[in-house]
Amino acid sequence: MQQSRIVITGIGLTAPNGNTLEEYRQNLLDGIARIQKIDMRYMGQVPAGVCDFDPKKYQNRKELRVGTRAGSIAIYCAHEAMADSGIDFENFDKNRIGVYIGTTEHGNVETENEVYNISKFDYDTRYWTHHHNPRTVANNPAGEITINMGITGPHYTIGAACAAGNAGLIQALQMLRLGEVDMALAGGVSESIQSFGIFAGFKSQGALGSHESDTNKTSRPFDKTRNGIVVSEGGCVYVLERLEDAQARGANIVAEIVGYCINSDASDYVLPNPERQAECMRQALKVAGMQPEEVDIVNTHATSTPMGDIQECKAVKEVFGESNKTYVNNTKSFIGHSMGAAGALELAGNLPSFKDNVIHPTINVEDLDPECALPNLVINTPQKVDAVKVILNNSFGMLGINSALIVKKFED
């Protein structure tokens, strides 16, 4: 069966260091991380990535009061993506648009807030808000997009731990190929910095990052002194279309999704499995009909944990060790771990490489861990190359969910 080619025609995002692709990309090239200390209930100050987009740009104050932060992030990104796509949204059949948003988790923030709220009333549940259930249903961020934009096609979230951003894109690609929808808004979001439970959980696990003097150096994948994750909020939503539809309307085609894979470690709740990760990347290459040598950038998932980074490096080395043309980088060193948004957001930071042929570095590497010393790891300064045509984006998550997405510079 001849499958439709699926292309990216619009991008909307918010990251701790940028509310547009241009701003975000410039900061990735200029080495500008933006991590700050925030007050966390019960815990005191913790490092986190915080976004400063204007939520009132697309929502009124009542919507903001009733909805969730994940919903706001999703709505902002969806509108920005739609505007970027140049689609005549007003006249587009809203019943033929699908919304597929990846989330690592949803509902922790709202539940914690309500438990805290009723603690002020001696745990009397009469003070528990009736907004709790619509705020915490798992489809919330995707559903908020549809309400805000009047989209009547299918919507749901894809719960895939920290592989969710890629999973959202893969779901959209499949639905477009099945002909279920004619356009998709897809990607991932995270509101996790408002949940003390996420931070406390990582801390108890020994996986919450810290840095004694410079908050912006807390997230430092591949550095010998790395000691854990920086939790961030953020979002990235893409407009995806079938190639023939995009061409028919004369769209600006940013890239084509040519390969993907999601698989499972089937081994541990937390510890990654490099064998399965390698299989995931290989399968994505197979789907794309490509050899490792054809990939210009591998954007790693590495989260700055002592063990996770080593495991991924083993997997990348196994697949790309013989390819002297493939460069490796990491985006979390700038923005921390934006959880459900990570895959989509980190991919976006690399897409401009198709135009400028520059590979953004991973920063904060002062003492490279020999176990992470991959050939062609782009460290601390950007790498100019002759041409970037193919990017492989890794995103992995707890319970052993792995995803690899391959995007290609668009060529007719």
Binding site: N60, R61, K62, R65, V66, F121, R126, Y127, H130
Partner: protein
């Protein structure tokens, strides 16, 4: 507490839960829903804020009493004064 003070309490709550609405010229006898974009969830918020901020309990069968500012005042003023 006077009826006007109770009306102001209700207006203050509406300003919190529906911050985009203009409450400066509400007609006391006209239904709140006819004058503003309020839905049933907003009325549940009004009930919750009366409970949280003022310890006033409005049982479900009495929700219709909150229809207009005047009916709110008629219904709530004795409750405030009985506290």
């Amino acid at each position: 507490m006077t009826e006007d003070q109770v009306k102001q309490i209700v207006i203050d709550i509406i300003n919190e839960i529906a911050p985009d609405e203009d409450t400066s010229n509400l007609k006391a006898e006209v239904s709140l829903r006819d004058q503003m974009d309020l839905d049933s969830m907003d009325f549940l918020d009004i009930v919750m804020e009366l409970r949280k901020q003022h310890g006033i309990e409005v049982p479900e069968e009495d929700y219709p009493q909150l229809a207009s500012l005047q009916s709110c005042a008629d219904y709530l003023t004795p409750k405030f004064n009985a506290k």
